[in-house]
């Protein structure tokens, strides 16, 4: 018996110590095919600059597509590299030379109690054929597409559907002090900015700990329910940091229906969700500074909601929250201030699933800014609210769908789902 146990233990140790080499690419048929295709696509001198012996495969959750990172000889891999998207056979689907420059030359070390900080800088894309080159700013980690100054907010919103920032700088403490690292969403970088968001894995590209090896983590979206309630006043105070003169303002209302693609469903019982509606406020200063805040109205004790009565409420930061439809309006400074005041006032109301829920709150704020949006009210099963029914994410979704069909370009619906932008957070 002891002998058997010893053998079993030895096998366990052997398996535990076996090095994972799933992310490495050997010189197999696939890699040979990639190199051949690269050689065909690039000029000879350009091909010669590639460090082909150090090609890395970026782990992604797709069996059809491979993502390859090709370092460039004598260049820092975290700032200069070739990114390739290939099929299983090694054919190049898309390839881009990428150059990333931080806005500040200093290492981005935030205070020790911080775990992540925004990245500001520039990203330069260059196609394999060298014919196309584009430089875009990275603001708070998001790659921002700009057509002109007036389009900046809407373009930014389009990019930010993708959700989490494309570049994240993280810090962590160790015995040697504070280390930091750049994490890139390489999948977002290789896709065209107009592509739907299709991945959320982040790859460590370099950092202050001297590490120069890539590692990838799969980051899931943080559910708002895991976050504590916010001090809305401190969130709204941030808008005063940008002067009103010359600024542009937008207010967005977003609907997250409980079952994607089925707006007739009032509940997703397996997720304990009746859906959600939230508000996004954007202020773009004349100097290009952007302030964005996303927030929503929640019950403070959700398990009491089935009582149907008034219960306490709380505000939660809805950054990166899922949505199925949203509607954006441009407003002036007075209207924007009215939205802020309405948010402050209505955040103190009691939550009632039938008579004052997240959709009522969001509509109050949106209409205070001149949204003039009225939606169909439905009777929530089990929670009747008189003959008129209640405001629900489903009603908002249907209204925005109608606006989209009518050709309103400010209204946007998604067949499946997308994710909202980031919030600046509180200001003191």
């Amino acid at each position: 018996m002891k002998k058997n146990l010893l053998i079993l233990l030895s096998i366990s140790f052997f398996l535990a110590c076996k090095k994972e080499r799933g992310s490495d690419i050997n010189h197999d048929t696939y890699l040979t095919s990639v190199c051949k295709n690269l050689h065909d696509s690039l000029q000879n001198d350009q091909y010669a600059t590639l460090n082909l012996s150090a090609i890395e495969q970026v782990p992604i959750s797709s069996s059809e597509i491979n993502l390859l990172l090709v370092p460039i000889i004598n260049q820092d891999k975290s700032t200069n590299f070739l990114l390739l998207k290939t099929d299983k056979m090694g054919n190049i689907v898309r390839g881009k030379f990428i150059n990333i420059t931080a806005a500040s030359a200093e290492s981005p070390i935030p205070p020790a109690d911080s775990t992540a900080t925004a990245f500001d800088g520039l990203i330069c894309y260059r196609n394999l054929n060298n014919l196309s080159r584009i430089t875009l700013p990275i603001i708070q980690g998001h790659i921002v597409a700009i057509k002109n100054k007036n389009d900046m907010v809407s373009q930014r919103v389009e990019v930010m559907q993708g959700t989490l920032p494309d570049v994240v700088v993280t810090t962590y403490s160790s015995s040697a002090g504070i280390n930091w690292g750049y994490w890139y969403n390489l999948f977002a970088m290789i896709n065209d900015l107009s592509d739907p968001y299709s991945g959320n894995s982040y790859t460590l590209m370099g950092g202050g700990d001297g590490s120069n090896t890539s590692s990838t983590v799969q980051i899931d979206f943080e559910f708002p329910e895991q976050l504590a309630s916010i001090n809305l006043q401190k969130y709204l105070d941030c808008f005063s940091s940008i002067p009103d003169v010359g600024a542009t303002f937008t207010v967005t209302i977003a609907s997250d229906i409980p079952v994607d693609g089925q707006p007739s469903k009032f509940f997703n019982w397996s997720q304990s969700s009746p859906g959600h509606t939230y508000i996004e406020l954007y202020k773009l200063g004349s100097n290009g500074a952007l302030m964005a805040q996303n927030f929503g109205f929640y019950p403070d004790s959700p398990w009491k909601t089935t009582t149907g009565g008034n219960i306490g409420s709380k505000m939660i930061d809805d950054a990166g929250h899922e949505y199925n439809a949203r509607y954006t309006i441009s407003v002036n400074a007075v209207q924007f201030q009215a939205a802020i005041e309405a948010a402050k006032t209505c955040s103190n109301y009691y939550y009632n699933i039938a008579s004052y829920n997240c959709t009522d709150f969001a509509l109050s704020v949106f209409n205070s800014a001149g949204g003039n949006l009225s939606i169909n009210q439905y009777s929530i099963p089990g929670f009747p609210n008189g003959p008129n029914g209640s405001n629900t994410p489903q009603g908002l979704y249907n209204k925005i769908s109608d606006l989209t069909v009518a050709g309103n370009t400010s209204a946007q619906t998604n067949a499946n789902k997308a994710y909202g932008g980031t919030s600046h957070g509180p200001c003191n």
């Binding site: 329910e225 019982w269 397996s270 304990s272 929640y298 959700p302 089935t306």
Partner: protein, 105 residues
């Protein structure tokens, strides 16, 4: 008696089972079967069959909860168990179930 909750909505688990049953959710079908099995044992006279039905009811109820919590990637679990009242109802449920199993065996 169990209270479950997400960020927006929560309440007695039986309320979820009742409503989700109409939409054909798996956890509700299993939970419904658990309730039927448990209630049936009250009208069965033979002790052996009574105990086995009670045991089946318990197993099905756990299976229902498992199926309910599993697809939520843990966030329903986190939210339910981070609040005192829902957590207490769960602990009471486990206590009662333990007694029920002891009686059945």
């Amino acid at each position: 008696m169990i209270l479950v909750t997400g960020p927006y909505f929560g309440g007695p688990y039986i309320f979820f089972i009742y409503n989700a049953l109409l939409d054909g959710y798996n956890f509700a079908i299993i939970g419904g079967a658990a309730i039927v099995s448990t209630l049936s044992c009250m009208i069965v006279n033979r002790s052996a069959r009574k105990n086995s039905m009670r045991l089946i009811g318990v197993v099905l109820m756990f299976a229902s909860l498992f199926v309910f919590f599993l697809p939520s990637k843990g966030y329903l679990l986190i939210y339910t168990f981070s609040q005192a009242v829902p957590l207490t109802t769960f602990l009471l449920f486990i206590l009662i179930i333990t007694f029920a199993i002891r009686r059945s065996i």
